[in-house]
Structure formats: structure tokens, C-alpha cells
């Protein structure tokens, strides 16, 4: 309970309060409640269409993501191959790219004049592809990290007893993966459910999600009453879905005897294994690689021909202008904000996960409630939170509206659910008998945490840190709607370059995106290696 207080308080102040404030402003404008807008929205047939589309595209995106992601997770969990570590890190690249850039990349493939020769822009297929591009890493990295800790001998035993590969997967592996799978699919669902940039960029005018409506009613038209009703609707749906997901996650997780990753992996030998790995690599290449290649090609093809011209021009084209962002500064700002957000989210998330999973003791009764509550920020509209910030933190000494602190805080609000989702199953999977044994042998509670829990949780913590860092690098959430003093990050520099016409602006935006991609891979590799000694093997 003590452990749950800081994260819940953090969310109460930086999420619940601003959201409640802006909803109140919408429905209670001049000192009186005005609820007539509920009727207007409820009877609007176009809103019903929007709701239906929002739900089904989110379900479809989640199903496709899981179906494509599960084999990927299996490959990373079970096979060693060259370039595995780099690829594992590179999976997160799509996740951090600014949506506009993802739009350019995907439209370069499946848009008008695209390389593939089919124009899918404006269709629901483009939206699904966009969501899978964004969220593939969520499934593979979340489920894969758990799969690595499943002792392959359990599966081998099943096989020896005559079970087929499919039966082994269904009856043995899948139940062990269920908590991680539920975590991944709930995150993918929430991201697709509240998708806004992808739907606008790739879906044309015919496809709209609730999030798109909320954005337009809030940021474009300032119709806060309609926006408030839609935000409440979104909230209700999100909580309902999370509650449902929570059931499958909450079934008592099986305590696992965890294995060293090296022991559970083997080289791909034999035609079946080779085909499996090759198939996955083809999927990754087509789905993630091809759009990224489009970006890289555009970054290196400049008005003066092929070369590093766009990168070089980043250093001088707009020097002497207030709009000039030295790329080194953008990288530094991005890294600083991301580091702050990651530390904040990890500390709060670890507390929350420990309390929810009943680390070292019984699972508290309220844990499922807290579990759901901590996920809700992922399913809430960023513009609602952003404009809510403006209304809430507007008085000294808490005038955070144009403080740089608002950036890591807002990123941590989005990163926190990731951390909790990844840590809770890991904490639950710790065999309580290990604690008992240690206690019997005279270890203090602190010693138990240090010597037993920390090493076992190491992989989950590294995974959570990776996602938290990526969330911040990608400028997720409310920060896009906040005015802030000149500390532009890489995604913001990309947006500014893309907002201007001209060959050089475009090439520079692509060059900055390539820098962001390289930075992401480098940071993720580093995080994967940074695990404390004794942790790396698990």
C-alpha cells in the first residue's frame, strides 16, 4: 500500500486532475451544469459511426498485431542468429518516429506514386498497416521477453510425451505467456483505439476515430462541451475494455523457474527452424524495414544528388535564425527529457507493480482496481490531457504550462502504464518459495529484494526502461499541445522542418528522422547491456 501511494498520487495530480478540469470546463461552463450536449451527441448518427469504426479498427489492429507478432516473439526467444541484438533494439524505431514521418514513409510505399504501385491511402488497410508498423515492437518485445524466461525443457517434456508442436504451444507455452500477451494486446488496443495521427494521415476523410473527433472539437474548434462528452465516452469504453483484459491477466500467474536466456536459445538448425527464422525476418523486413528504407533514401537523396548534403545542411542552412535548431542540441534535449521521464516512470512504476502484484506477500484486494486505473492514461486523448494541463497548472508556484518540467512529467504519464504492464507479470512470476527459503536462511527483507527479486526482474526492468525511453523520445502524449520554451527535441525539429516547402526542408526532415532512428537503436542497445551484473543472464 505504501508503495502504491506515490504512483497513484502522481497520476491523480498529473492525469486525473487535468482531465477532470477540462471536462468540467466543457460541461459546467458558466457555473451551471449543461448536459444537453449529451443528448445532441447521443442522437448524432455520425458519432455512432465514429464509435463503431474506432472499436472495430482497434480490435482488428490488435488481432493482426498479435498474429504477426507472436511468431516474431518466438523467434527472438528461442533462436540465436547474427544481428539478433541489433534487430531487437531496432524494433523500437517505428515506435519513436514522429507520426508525420511515418506517414511520409508509408505513403512512399503504399501511397500515390508509391514504390509498390498500389495506392492504399484513404483505405482502412493503410490504417491497419500503420498500426501494425507502430505496434509490432510492443507485441514482440513484451511477449518475447517473457518467452525467453520459459524453460524450454517444459516444452521438450511435452513433446517427449507425444504432444504435437501445436498442442505443446497451446497447452504448455501459451498459458505461461498469457499475462504478457494480455499486457501487449491491451497496450496495442489502447494505442489503436486512441490513434489519431495515423488515422488522419493515412485514413483520408472517410475514416475517423473518437480521438480525431476530440482533437478537432478541442484544438481546432474549441467546442469543449462536445469534446468533454466524447472524452467521457472514450473513457468509459477504455475502462470497460481494460477491465475485461484484466481478467485474463489476473488469473494467478504460474510461478516460473526462470532460465538463463542463453540456455533457452539455440542456433537455427534444420530446415524447419531456418524457414521459421527466415519467414519472420521477411515479415520484419517488409513491415518495418521497407518504410524505414524509404526514409533513409529520401534523407540521402538531395536536390544536388545522392550524398550527405541534407545532413551537412542541418548545420548551417538556417543558422542565424531563431528557427535554427543545432542537431546536437536537439539530440541532447531529447536524451535529457527521455532520461528524466524514464527514471520517473521506472521509480513510480516499480512501486506500483510491486504493490499490485503483492510482491513478497499476498495480492491485495484493490490491486485489480489500481491495475486498471494505471492503464487508463494510455487510452485517453492526448489533446484532452494537454489542454487540461493548460487549465490546471496555471497558477504560481505550480505554473507548469511553459516550464520544461512539464515535458518529462507528461511523458512519464504515458510511460508509466508500460512499466507497470511489463513489471507486474514479472513480479507475479517470482516463486514465493524463493522468498521463504531466503527468509528461513536468515535474509532480511531488503536482502531478499536485492539478491532474489532484482536479478529476476532485471530483464523486465530493462524492457520497461526501453519502452519508457522510447515513449519520451517519440514525444508521446500531451506535450505536442503545450507551448514550451525553446528546448526543441528531435521530433519537434522534424515537425518544424516539414512545415516548410522546398526540397531542402524535406530532405532535412528526413535526415533528422534518420538521426532519431540511429539514436534509438544506440540507446536501446545500451539499455539492454546496462543491466547490473548478475542480471544479464536471466
Amino acid at each position: 500500500m505504501v508503495a502504491a501511494a506515490p504512483p497513484l498520487l502522481f497520476l491523480a495530480v498529473f492525469f486525473v486532475w487535468p482531465v477532470a478540469t477540462i471536462i468540467e470546463r466543457g460541461l459546467h461552463p458558466d457555473g451551471a451544469w449543461d448536459l444537453s450536449v449529451f443528448a445532441d451527441v447521443a442522437t448524432d448518427p455520425s458519432i455512432r459511426r465514429v464509435l463503431w469504426f474506432t472499436v472495430w479498427q482497434a480490435v482488428a489492429s490488435t488481432v493482426v498485431c498479435v498474429l504477426i507478432g507472436l511468431p516474431g516473439a518466438a523467434m527472438f526467444a528461442r533462436f540465436r542468429f547474427r544481428g539478433r541484438a541489433v534487430l531487437w533494439s531496432a524494433l523500437l524505431v517505428p515506435f519513436v518516429l514522429p507520426t508525420v514521418v511515418v506517414g511520409v514513409a508509408l505513403l512512399g510505399l503504399i501511397g500515390p506514386g508509391g514504390v509498390l504501385g498500389v495506392d492504399l491511402s484513404g483505405t482502412v488497410w493503410a490504417i491497419l498497416i500503420g498500426h501494425v508498423f507502430f505496434n509490432y515492437a510492443v507485441v514482440v518485445r513484451t511477449v518475447g521477453a517473457t518467452w525467453m524466461t520459459v524453460d524450454p525443457r517444459v516444452e521438450e517434456a511435452a513433446r517427449t510425451l507425444g504432444a504435437s508442436t501445436w498442442t505443446t504451444f497451446r497447452r504448455v507455452t501459451l498459458p505461461l505467456l498469457r499475462p504478457a500477451l494480455a499486457a501487449a494486446s491491451s497496450i496495442v488496443f489502447l494505442f489503436s483505439f486512441t490513434s489519431f495521427g495515423i488515422v488522419l494521415l493515412l485514413g483520408g476523410t472517410a475514416h475517423r476515430t473518437v480521438e480525431v473527433e476530440i482533437y478537432q472539437q478541442t484544438a481546432r474548434l474549441l467546442n469543449l462541451d462536445v469534446a468533454a462528452v466524447l472524452a467521457l465516452l472514450q473513457l468509459v469504453l477504455v475502462v470497460a475494455v481494460l477491465w475485461w483484459f484484466g481478467r485474463s491477466q489476473h488469473r494467478r500467474a504460474v510461478a516460473l523457474e526462470q532460465r538463463r536466456a542463453e540456455e533457452s536459445q539455440r542456433p537455427a538448425v534444420g530446415w524447419q527452424a531456418r524457414t521459421f527464422v527466415a519467414g519472420n525476418l521477411v515479415v520484419i523486413g517488409a513491415l518495418l524495414g521497407a518504410p524505414l528504407v524509404v526514409l533513409a533514401v529520401r534523407a540521402f537523396s538531395t536536390p544536388d544528388g545522392w550524398g550527405l548534403g541534407a545532413f551537412r545542411s542541418l548545420g548551417d542552412t538556417r543558422r542565424g535564425s531563431t528557427a535554427y535548431v543545432p542537431p546536437v542540441d536537439a539530440v541532447r534535449n531529447s536524451l535529457q527529457f527521455a532520461a528524466m521521464a524514464t527514471v520517473l516512470a521506472l521509480v513510480l512504476g516499480a512501486c506500483a507493480a510491486w504493490a499490485i502484484a503483492g510482491g513478497g506477500g499476498r495480492v491485495p484486494r484493490w490491486s485489480r482496481f489500481a491495475d486498471t486505473a494505471l492503464m487508463v492514461p494510455l487510452g485517453t486523448s492526448a489533446v484532452t490531457v494537454g489542454f487540461g494541463f493548460l487549465l490546471t497548472f496555471d497558477r504560481a508556484p505550480f505554473d507548469l504550462r511553459s516550464s520544461v518540467w512539464i515535458v518529462p512529467i507528461a511523458h512519464a504519464v504515458v510511460a508509466l502504464p508500460f512499466v507497470v504492464r511489463l513489471l507486474v507479470p514479472a513480479v507475479r512470476a517470482i516463486d514465493p518459495r524463493l522468498h521463504e527459503a531466503a527468509a528461513v536462511l536468515g535474509a532480511s527483507p531488503g536482502r531478499v529484494r536485492r539478491s532474489i527479486d532484482a536479478p529476476i526482474l532485471g530483464r523486465a526492468i530493462a524492457g520497461a526502461a526501453g519502452f519508457a525511453f522510447a515513449v519520451s523520445l517519440g514525444e508521446f502524449g500531451a506535450t505536442a499541445f503545450l507551448a514550451r520554451p525553446a528546448r526543441p527535441t528531435l521530433p519537434i525539429a522534424v515537425y518544424r522542418a516539414l512545415g516548410r516547402p522546398g526540397e531542402w526542408s524535406f530532405a532535412q526532415a528526413m535526415a533528422l528522422s534518420v538521426i532519431l532512428m540511429v539514436l534509438t537503436v544506440a540507446v536501446m542497445l545500451l539499455i539492454d547491456r546496462l543491466r547490473p551484473p548478475g542480471v544479464a543472464e536471466f
Binding site: 472517410a206 484544438a219 467546442n223 535564425s321 528557427a323 487549465l391 516548410r500 524535406f506
Partner: protein, 381 residues
């Protein structure tokens, strides 16, 4: 365990309560300076006001705002005011966010208020009126748009259909010139526009059709301007979310990578596609259909509740000064509003002067915008 738990519940409650109290006290005790009194002029005897003590002025601007560092330093030297930029989002998002906190602003002066939001800006009393001394230098066509000095015009940038020259003249075909040409069969499937619900140029183009074809008072689906959009739709117009997608992914001209040779963009876009003035005027990669241009003026204002209204006034005067006006075209791809400001070579050579762009009174836009966007959406969703 159970006593322990009770203890911790109250500990958490105390922390929460303390924080809530601190915030409430903070909320009640703060006061907004500079209420009521008229803003003193930012310029006296032809020179900007100079402050004895250094002042830090916060300037709220959209993401496209840019000024040469040396021009800005000129202001800081002259006035002893240090400028801190606060930027977020495009003009509409920035203005709406500012309206939300009207009276308790994050900055002192706001730049880039969209003409179409002036109705809301006035209703929310976002800014305090200021009659700029240098307004006398501004071309009357822009100075007369807003009466009473609520906000001050700083630049203009017309929204017009741009064409990919090579797609037409390269193929020996005539360039489209008028709105009617866009619905002609020979231009089927060539135009890409932005959704007026999500895009500023998209909204401007929709307003252009209302100004051109009329029917703005007609609430039916058969309004004259909507009939034009039906014809556009039948002719295969494509609607995308915003300028970036339209220009870079759909448009075939200049830096565009798409397939459509006609796009809604700005009158100032063609110079951006030319590196130097060696290119002949009729050989630029892209050009402008001047008959389709809609007026777009950007305004600045002193935010109500500003800490330094006098410094804000000085900044507004500075923005109407010669150096800032001459600096804007290459920094922001907009045109100066002060008559006689010299234009950079590429601008002087490659931009067509739009003599009489289409426009609608902002009060009419404020009163009807939501309905018009709704009518448009009925047709396209």
C-alpha cells in the same frame, strides 16, 4: 500487517491533502497584474521605448515563427528587453490554447493569430486593444481589416492552388486558371486539398469557394458553394488531413513526391522551390493560380494579463519596423504588410502579386465556420 496498513493509508492521505491544500492556496493567492489601464505606447518620438531595468518578454508564437537572430538582437539592444520564445502547434491550436487561458497567459505578446479566429479572440477578450503607432505605415488593405486596434496585422500569405508546371507545359497542355477549370474533365483527378476541419489552408480554400460562389447563408446541402464542391468531388478531388501530406506525399511538383499536379498551398510556396534567381520566371517548378487566392493575414496582440504590456507594445512596433518586415519573407515565407518593404530577390522575381485576393469578413466566418465545416463534412464523409 493490519495495523501497519491503517497507518500507511493515513500517511498517503496526509500527503495528498497537503498537496491539494498547497495548490488551492497557490490558486487563490496569485494575482494578475496590469488590469484595466490602457497600454502605454511602445514607441515614443519615432523610437522604441527603452527600459532602464532589463525586462524578459515572453512571445507566444506558432511553430512556423522564425526571425533572424541579428534582427532580434537589434530589438534587444534598442529596448533592453530580452525575448523568450514560447512555441507550440500551428496557428489555430496555439490561438485556441491561448483563448482557453485568456486573462492568465503564458506570455506577454502573441504572434500569429489566425484571421478566422478573430471572432473567438474578441469574445474571450484574449488580448487588450493596442493602437500601434506604426499602423500608419501598413497598407490600408490590411490595416482596415480589424478596427479599434484589437490586434495588429503583421504579415500576409495568401492561400492559393499551386500547380506543377512540368505536368502541364511539359505535356503541351494549358495551365488551369480559374475555379471552373478545376472541375473540367481535363483536370479530373489532379487536385489535392486539405480537410477544412483539420487544416488551416484547407479551411482557407473552403472559405475561398464560399467567397467566390456564395450561398454562405444557405443551410441546405444545395448551397451554391457546396454545388461547386460536388463538382470537384465528381472530378476526383482528393482530401487529405493537412498541408504536409498534401504537399509532400500527394503533390507532384517541386519537392512533392506524389502524383497530383494541383495542390492547395501558399502564394509564397514557388520561391521556396527555386534555389537562386537564375531560373526564368516562367520556368519555376511550381506556380500559383492567382484567381484562387484567399487572403490570410497574421496578427499580433498584447495578451490580457501580460506582465510586461509596455514591452509587448514595443515588440509589436518592432514587428512593423523595417528590419523585421524585410526579414519575414525568407524566414517564414510570408509577405510584409508595410507598404514599400523591399522583397528578397527570389520573392520579387517569382511571386505573383495577388491584387485582390478573395476574403470574407471575419465576423461572418466566426458566426458560420462550424456550420460550414459541418456542411462540407456531410459531403465528404
Amino acid at each position: 500487517m493490519s495495523t501497519n496498513r491503517r497507518g500507511t493509508v493515513s500517511a498517503a492521505a496526509i500527503v495528498a491533502l497537503t498537496l491539494a491544500l498547497a495548490l488551492m492556496v497557490a490558486a487563490c493567492s496569485s494575482s494578475a497584474p496590469s488590469k484595466g489601464a490602457a497600454v502605454p505606447p511602445g514607441m515614443v518620438d519615432g523610437a522604441l521605448v527603452r527600459f532602464d531595468e532589463p525586462v524578459t518578454l515572453r512571445v507566444l508564437a506558432h511553430d512556423s515563427f522564425a526571425v533572424s537572430a541579428e534582427v532580434l538582437e537589434e530589438f534587444e539592444r534598442e529596448t533592453n528587453v530580452r525575448v523568450e520564445l514560447v512555441q507550440a502547434g500551428d496557428a489555430v491550436t496555439m490561438t485556441n490554447a491561448a483563448i482557453l487561458t485568456a486573462g492568465n497567459p503564458v506570455a506577454d505578446v502573441i504572434f500569429g493569430i489566425d484571421e478566422n479566429l478573430l471572432g473567438a479572440v474578441g469574445a474571450a477578450r484574449l488580448v487588450v486593444p493596442y493602437a500601434a503607432v506604426r499602423l500608419a505605415d501598413v497598407d490600408p488593405a490590411y490595416a482596415s481589416v480589424v478596427e479599434g486596434g484589437l490586434v495588429t496585422p503583421i504579415d500576409h500569405a495568401e492561400v492559393c492552388v499551386n500547380f506543377d508546371r512540368d505536368a502541364f507545359t511539359g505535356a503541351g497542355r494549358a495551365l488551369p486558371r480559374t475555379f471552373e477549370d478545376l472541375t473540367a474533365r481535363e483536370h479530373a483527378g489532379q487536385l489535392v486539398v486539405q480537410d477544412p476541419a483539420s487544416s488551416t489552408p484547407g479551411l482557407a480554400f473552403m472559405l475561398a469557394t464560399i467567397a467566390r460562389f456564395g450561398g454562405g447563408d444557405d443551410t441546405s446541402a444545395d448551397a451554391a458553394w457546396l454545388r461547386y464542391w460536388k463538382a470537384l468531388k465528381a472530378n476526383g478531388v482528393k482530401v487529405v488531413d493537412g498541408w504536409e501530406t498534401a504537399y509532400y506525399s500527394e503533390f507532384s511538383g517541386g519537392s512533392g513526391e506524389g502524383t497530383r499536379p494541383l495542390v492547395v498551398s501558399y502564394a509564397s510556396s514557388p520561391p521556396a522551390e527555386v534555389a537562386d534567381t537564375s531560373v526564368a520566371v516562367d520556368a519555376t517548378p511550381t506556380g500559383v493560380m492567382t484567381a484562387t487566392c484567399y487572403r490570410q493575414i497574421e496578427f499580433a496582440g498584447i495578451l490580457r494579463g501580460a506582465r510586461h504590456p509596455e514591452a509587448a507594445a514595443a515588440f509589436i512596433e518592432f514587428m512593423l519596423g523595417r528590419s523585421f518586415q524585410a526579414d519575414m519573407p525568407l524566414q517564414m515565407y510570408v509577405y510584409p504588410v508595410v507598404s514599400g518593404t523591399p522583397l528578397p530577390d527570389t520573392f520579387a522575381k517569382y511571386t505573383a502579386v495577388v491584387a485582390e485576393p478573395l476574403s470574407l469578413p471575419y465576423a461572418q466566418v466566426a458566426a458560420n465556420r462550424d456550420r460550414w465545416v459541418g456542411q462540407w463534412s456531410e459531403l465528404f464523409r
